[in-house]
């Protein structure tokens, strides 16, 4: 056979290893954020659930205003308020079973509290007397996480471990729109999808990463669309519609528990307050935008639904407010006491078994403290 004949026998074909892996169409999010309140879907919502969500929303808003007030009184170093985002916070807590795990970011104090974490212990990080005040195992709430998106792989690993052990535990991980740009967001979603881990990712798209708007964060059609690249479903929901967020989260949790794998949910919401009390939001956004979102308030939306349908009356509203006031009064009273600090605690938990070097340093600090005390006693005499 001549070279030309050999060449003629060659038939180009598609790449041999290539095969379509999955039809992406069912993974795509809806074009519009899913809504329940004020739509026909609301009639199917459980009235008891709506009332529970309402009570928690009122509490959540009050918690935010109380915590913000505590920063002004110097009781908290800083507080990242979630006012305007309470529907996401509350629905995240209520969509989970007791055995499930929540992985909150630093703005998700409300979700931790709604899941049962003590309101004062939830603020330990922000008061500054320790980094985490609550026992993560008591309510299965991971420590509030400050480095963005780094807690997402933890949620994946925990869910994966639970499944390996045969437990039907689901992990819900919370992150903001800014956090979706982090590498850990990508790695967590990829691992979750490859492992088919029972995880739900809830992105609260509140419009801003401190001052940077979403348009400077991503060119994706929506954050929910990012799911498709990982091979998991993406869902888009009105983040101020507590009933809708709860429904979408519950569906995803059920899907994950049944072995269906992870879901990415983008909840479209808005941060009404500044990033924290230390931020000045007027430098990067206008009043008109904020006012438009105030008119789409999660509490008003649910209150309207409940009162229109006769599921909530003035007495019910008053009772919810009273409940929130009691919570706030208790928070105030307990936060107005100085925390008990023991500097020697600094050395107790670095390692399971302390090192010789740490024991030496512990002795040094103890001696300093004793000398300080002697000085003070000397002054008194």
């Amino acid at each position: 056979m001549t070279v030309m004949e050999q060449r003629g026998a060659y038939r180009p074909s598609p790449p041999p290893a290539w095969q379509p892996r999955m039809d992406p169409a069912p993974l795509l999010p809806d074009a519009e954020p899913y809504r329940v309140l004020g739509t026909e879907a609301a009639a199917k919502a459980d009235p008891d659930l709506l009332r529970r969500l309402y009570t928690q929303l009122i509490r959540g808003r009050r918690y935010n205003t109380q915590a913000t007030a505590l920063t002004k009184q110097g009781r908290l170093a800083v507080y990242p308020s979630s006012t305007g985002q309470e529907a996401c916070e509350v629905a995240a807590a209520l969509a989970l079973e007791e055995r499930d795990w929540l992985f909150p970011s630093y703005r998700d104090t409300l979700a931790a509290v709604a899941r049962g974490v003590d309101p004062v212990e939830a603020l330990t990080l922000l008061r500054g007397d320790w980094h985490t005040g609550y026992d993560p195992y008591a309510h299965r709430v991971a420590p509030l996480c400050t480095p963005l998106a780094t807690q997402l792989p933890h949620a994946v690993g925990l869910a994966h471990a639970a499944r390996l052990k045969g437990d039907d535990v689901v992990a819900l991980a919370m992150v903001g729109d800014g956090g979706t740009s982090e590498g850990d967001f990508h790695e967590a979603l990829n691992f979750a999808a490859v492992w088919q881990a029972p995880v739900v990712f809830l992105v609260q798209n509140n419009g801003f990463a401190i001052s940077v708007p979403l348009a400077k964060q991503t060119a994706a059609p929506s954050l929910a669309h990012k799911a498709v690249g990982y091979g998991m479903p993406g869902r888009l929901v009105d983040g101020n519609d507590a009933a809708a967020v709860h429904e979408v989260l519950s569906d995803a949790v059920r899907h994950a528990r049944a072995g269906g794998g992870p879901t990415l949910i983008e909840a479209v919401t808005y941060r009404i307050d500044a990033h924290t009390n230390a931020d000045d939001a007027t430098r990067y956004r206008g009043d008109a935008e904020v006012e438009a979102w105030r008119a789409h308030d999660p509490i008003q939306l649910l209150e309207q639904e409940l009162t229109t349908r006769g599921l909530l009356d003035d007495a019910g509203i008053e009772a919810a407010r009273q409940d929130a006031e009691e919570m706030a009064a208790d928070l105030r009273a307990r936060m107005n006491k100085d925390p008990e600090l023991n500097p020697m605690d600094l050395f107790d938990h670095v390692y399971a078994e302390s090192t010789a070097q740490l024991r030496e340093q512990r002795d040094l600090l103890r001696a300093e403290l004793e000398a300080e005390q002697d000085d003070q006693e000397g002054d008194l005499r």
Binding site: P143, A161, E187, Y351, T355, A356
Partner: protein
């Protein structure tokens, strides 16, 4: 009397056995990383584990070091004992945020409620002709992060004993494997029951009265060779193998330096900001009045790791160690 010839095991084989024994002893032990399953790892340290224990216990992960360590954190939160393999020293850097911000801090952050018993195996160091990013000595980064243990074996027996101890530890351990010693053999007998070595104890590898070479990992055999060569020059050198950089065994190091009065710290990592500075400072603080000469360092130069054809000029070798020993102010004694 007849001696039964036992085929000596390499350090890599001892590490494999440590992993296998740990997995057999405790179902919570999970091995994970890039290529650790079917392939058995690029250095074959996880060889056979996926077959023996299943892919759920020895898992090929996606290629993402932060994701590997980040998911290991979550697994440890749920009661597992992940043993993570970072394929090469320089490929472990993407996992630094997880390591520094979470692995090292979680126990402390939660007042001891959420310990993270994770072992992070990292092949490290040069001398194997590796191209760029395959020969780094990254121990100083780990040492500078409170909350981690940093361990590195130099013998086959220690490779087994220290890895078992690392996996059994309730604290996170960065386990640095000197990759140029993977194929080394010594007197360790794989047929005999192996011992678990306590973390945090240095050992005197060679006794001597003139000066102490303080070293660890890949530089231990180099120092042993240097000590042999020094004998011919009339210097009687002691060699201390640290084995554990964190916790640091001040006791063994200082006892040796107090005996000899002279010390040279030897490591591959760059001198500036490297472990040697910390060690020299600790010796000076504790043994100043026993010292006959300043503590010297023989270390890698302060440059990015050289290309393989030039690495021999960078790595501390016998001659450079002997030159340092010669500068230990011996004339004062005569």
């Amino acid at each position: 009397m007849t001696t039964v010839a036992v085929k000596p095991a390499t350090m890599a084989q001892a590490l494999t056995r440590a992993l296998r024994d740990a997995m057999a002893a405790d179902p919570a032990v999970h091995v994970m990383g890039e290529d650790v399953g079917t392939l058995g790892g690029v250095f074959r340290v996880t060889d056979g584990l996926a077959k023996e224990f299943g892919e759920d216990r020895c898992t090929d992960t996606p290629l993402a070091e932060a994701g590997i360590l980040g998911t290991a954190v979550g697994m440890a939160m749920y009661g597992l004992r992940p043993v993570v393999e970072m394929q090469f020293d320089a490929f472990a850097y993407p996992a630094f945020e997880q390591l520094i911000s979470h692995v090292a801090r979680m126990r402390n952050r939660t007042r001891g409620r959420m310990p993270l018993p994770i072992t992070i195996r990292v092949p490290y160091g040069g001398g194997i002709g590796g191209v760029e990013h395959h020969s780094d000595s990254s121990e100083a980064y780990y040492m500078a992060t409170p909350g981690l243990h940093v361990v590195t074996p130099a013998t086959v027996a220690d490779a087994y004993g220290l890895l078992r101890a690392a996996i059994a530890s309730d604290d996170p351990v960065v386990f640095l494997e000197p990759k140029r010693l993977y194929w080394s053999k010594d007197s360790w007998n794989p047929e005999e029951p192996a011992t678990v070595e306590p973390i945090g104890r240095a050992v005197v590898r060679r006794q001597g009265r003139g000066a102490t070479l303080i070293t660890y990992g890949p530089s231990v055999p180099v120092c042993m060779e240097a000590a042999d060569a020094a004998q011919a020059e009339g210097w009687d050198l002691e060699v201390v193998d640290l084995r554990s950089l964190v916790p640091f065994d001040d006791e063994t190091v200082c006892a040796s330096v107090r005996r000899t009065g002279r010390a040279v710290v030897v490591h591959e990592a760059s001198a500036f900001g490297g472990p040697g500075g910390e060690i020299a400072a600790r010796i000076t603080e504790r043994c100043f009045h026993h010292l006959e000469a300043p503590v010297l360092r023989v270390a890698g130069f302060d440059l990015p790791y050289p290309p393989p054809m030039l690495e021999k000029h960078h790595l501390p070798g016998v001659d450079r160690i002997l030159d340092a020993v010669a500068r230990l102010q011996w004339e004062a004694e005569s």
